[in-house]
């Protein structure tokens, strides 16, 4: 039985452990009032960005395709989640139940968006995916910018012209108001729900990677021609990775949006896609633990550096460069390896 516990299983449990430990730390800090107000406000966005980083790592690190439009899926998830929650406000009174339904709907719709984009694009090779996903992200943003959605007793009303064109009843309510984005959102995201979503995302991604499907995805990344010669359906497995990633990004979007009272489509532009890509690259491509830590640090850092006010972004950039240098330096890596090596030896010694 001991042999069954291999390296990947250990890594999986380390990741679960890190998330739960961080939850415990932040929860204690905020309960004892030792957490600054800004940082408390950042807890849910941090969870959302951690999920985004994990989702993007599935595409960039495991599937080996560069996607520059993941904010697009986040945005699809955010708006469909908000609309679902608003539409169900009267029928489902329990906040938790409404949150769960909204997240599930958000993930499903983002998955459909991923499928629509993925089917034509994943047949291509090379940089096409990056370019088309970039364009897709912008298209989503612009479509949402001119979309008006409202709800009344008759159901959902959609218009691309103006709020008046929705023809809502007097009791009806406009949810999405074009460039103003979604307004009057019920803030039903909580830190606990965020942590649970992170754990679910980790569970899905890690189990997928360490199964037959994940093996096929990684094989296609390593050598497409050999994978085809072994009878692997390349498009199918690339699509599985892409759609799963889109669905997880969508749920992150819903979590993120339902933490604010209003949200504009502009929030999910190209810069957000790049920001998430920075988390993935900095944490190490294909390294889920790295993605989690990078996302937490880089979202919290600008807030922690608030005291430096004007020099904030300057320090941020320097930190980014330093981390890159350190994590790519052979000597530092060897040094870190040594520390872990000592740790491992001790453990083995204990076993004997």
């Amino acid at each position: 039985m001991k042999k069954m516990i291999n390296k990947s299983t250990v890594t999986s449990f380390i990741n679960y452990g890190i998330v739960i430990a961080l939850f415990a730390v932040f929860q204690t800090l905020s309960a004892t009032g030792n957490l600054s107000r800004q940082l408390t406000g950042l807890l849910i966005p941090i969870c959302a960005y951690v999920i985004m980083a994990l989702a993007l790592n599935l595409v960039v690190g495991i599937s080996g395709e560069l996607s520059l439009g993941h904010a697009g899926f986040m945005s699809v998830g955010a708006f469909s989640g908000v609309i679902t929650a608003a539409a169900l406000q009267n029928s489902v009174t329990n906040d938790v139940a409404r949150f769960v339904i909204a997240v599930v709907v958000a993930a499903l719709i983002a998955a459909i968006a991923g499928l629509i984009i993925g089917i034509p694009v994943l047949r291509l090779r090379g940089d096409y995916l990056a370019i088309v996903t970039l364009a897709f992200g912008e298209i989503i943003k612009n479509v949402l910018t001119c979309l008006y959605i409202g709800v009344d007793s008759k159901g959902l009303h959609i218009s691309a012209v103006s709020e008046e064109a929705l023809g809502l009843e007097a009791t009806g309510k406009a949810i999405v108001k074009g460039p103003m984005g979604a307004v009057g959102i019920m803030k039903i995201s909580t830190f606990i729900s965020g942590i649970i979503l992170v754990l679910i995302a980790l569970f899905v991604i890690q189990n997928l990677i360490n199964s037959r499907t994940g093996r096929a995805i990684k094989a296609i990344r390593d050598n497409r021609i050999a994978a085809e010669a072994c009878g692997l359906n390349v498009v199918k497995y690339k699509l599985i990775a892409f759609v799963t990633s889109a669905a997880i990004a969508g749920s992150a979007g819903a979590l993120y949006a339902m933490n604010y009272s209003s949200i504009t489509p502009k929030k999910f532009d190209f810069n957000t896609s790049i920001l998430v890509l920075v988390f993935v690259v900095l944490g190490g491509i294909g390294n889920l633990t790295g993605s989690i830590i990078a996302a937490i640090v880089l979202v919290a850092l600008p807030e922690l550096l608030r005291e430096f006010s004007d020099y904030r972004m300057l320090v941020y950039a320097v930190v980014l460069i330093l981390v890159m240098i350190i994590s790519n330096n052979q000597k530092t890596r060897a040094f870190i390896g040594k520390i872990f090596g000592v740790f491992k030896k001790k453990k083995e010694g204990e076993d004997n």
């Binding site: 569970f203 899905v204 189990n207 997928l208 360490n210 199964s211 037959r212 499907t213 994940g214 093996r215 096929a216 990684k218 094989a219 990344r221 390593d222 050598n223 021609i225 050999a226 994978a227 085809e228 010669a229 072994c230 009878g231 692997l232 359906n233 390349v234 599985i240």
Partner: protein, 287 residues
């Protein structure tokens, strides 16, 4: 070479030769008038070949003769311009690489193509992918079928690796293996896809004489144990003459000679292709 008994070749309906023992069953592969043009360049002109069910065939020829192109045509990496490929009585005209593999052709590559970041065992498991399956959802939720199938795959992978005594390397990254081991792993991975016909593209390239001798033994062992046909491209004449029962010689995209190793060795057209006309005449004078 001396310890090998030469197999008698007999004609089959298509203009080809296969070993006599396979004559009662239809050939596993029948290729007729196969050709491909790249723009104005005719890479393969009129290639005909039949391979018996348990035959070890060889494809030789000078560099650029079109040998690897023929492998790429058989596995549908390229679509042929003309001609037909019948695999076990099945026309592969409308198949792609993936379908051809499922129909029963597995191959190795001249420039090794392993999944470098996966372990040796995982590489073999990719070969087993279409043999043993469970859905993506089963994998995510770790249903009982996941544990059962993974265990069976693990055992089968180790069993296949044991052909080349590579069980101990199972957990190494494939990219970190020494060159010879990488070549052997490619053969194991191809075997794992349960082929009827195994195509080996220069299996002995870069191996030393003792490794080559071991490889020859193993190729014969694979044929005997798995009862499959093997077609190999090779420049190492000791290996080709030592284990191939039928050899086709290719030059400028055309088959210039076919036959048993002895027939090929004495064929004037082959000597000319390899050594040139002048050398051939000098050879004659000496005799």
């Amino acid at each position: 070479m001396a310890n090998k008994e030469e197999v008698k070749l007999v004609s089959v309906p298509s203009p080809n030769l296969i070993p006599e023992r396979d004559v009662n069953s239809s050939p596993i592969l029948e290729v007729s008038h196969l050709g491909i043009d790249f723009g104005g360049l005719t890479a393969v002109e009129d290639f005909n070949m039949a391979i018996g069910r348990t035959e070890i065939g060889g494809l030789i020829g000078p560099n650029g003769a079109g040998k690897t192109t023929i492998f790429n045509l058989l596995t549908k990496v390229y679509q042929p311009t003309r001609g037909t490929i019948m695999l076990d009585g099945l026309d592969t005209a409308n198949m792609n690489t993936i379908q051809v593999n499922k129909a029963g052709i597995a191959r190795t590559f001249q420039n090794i193509r392993l999944f470098d970041k996966l372990t040796v065992e995982e590489n073999v498991k990719i070969g087993l992918h279409n043999q043993m399956g469970y859905s993506a959802a089963t994998g995510v939720f770790r249903l009982p079928k996941y544990w059962k199938t993974e265990k069976a795959m693990h055992e089968k992978a180790l069993e296949l690796l044991s052909i080349f005594n590579m069980q101990d390397m199972a957990n190494f990254a494939a990219g970190s293996l020494p060159y010879g081991a990488q070549r052997r792993l490619e053969i194991v991975r191809a075997l794992a896809t349960n082929p009827k016909l195994l195509l080996l593209d220069e299996p002995a390239a870069g191996m030393n004489p003792s490794e080559t001798a071991e490889l020859m033994e193993n190729i014969r062992k694979i044929r005997d144990e798995f009862k499959i046909a093997i077609l190999l491209i090779e420049h190492d004449m000791n290996l080709v003459m030592g284990i191939c029962e039928a050899i086709a010689v290719l030059n400028f995209g055309k088959v210039i000679a076919k036959g048993t190793p002895t027939q090929i060795q004495n064929n004037p057209a082959v000597i000319e292709a390899y050594l040139g006309k002048q050398a051939q005449e000098e050879l004659k004078k000496e005799v």
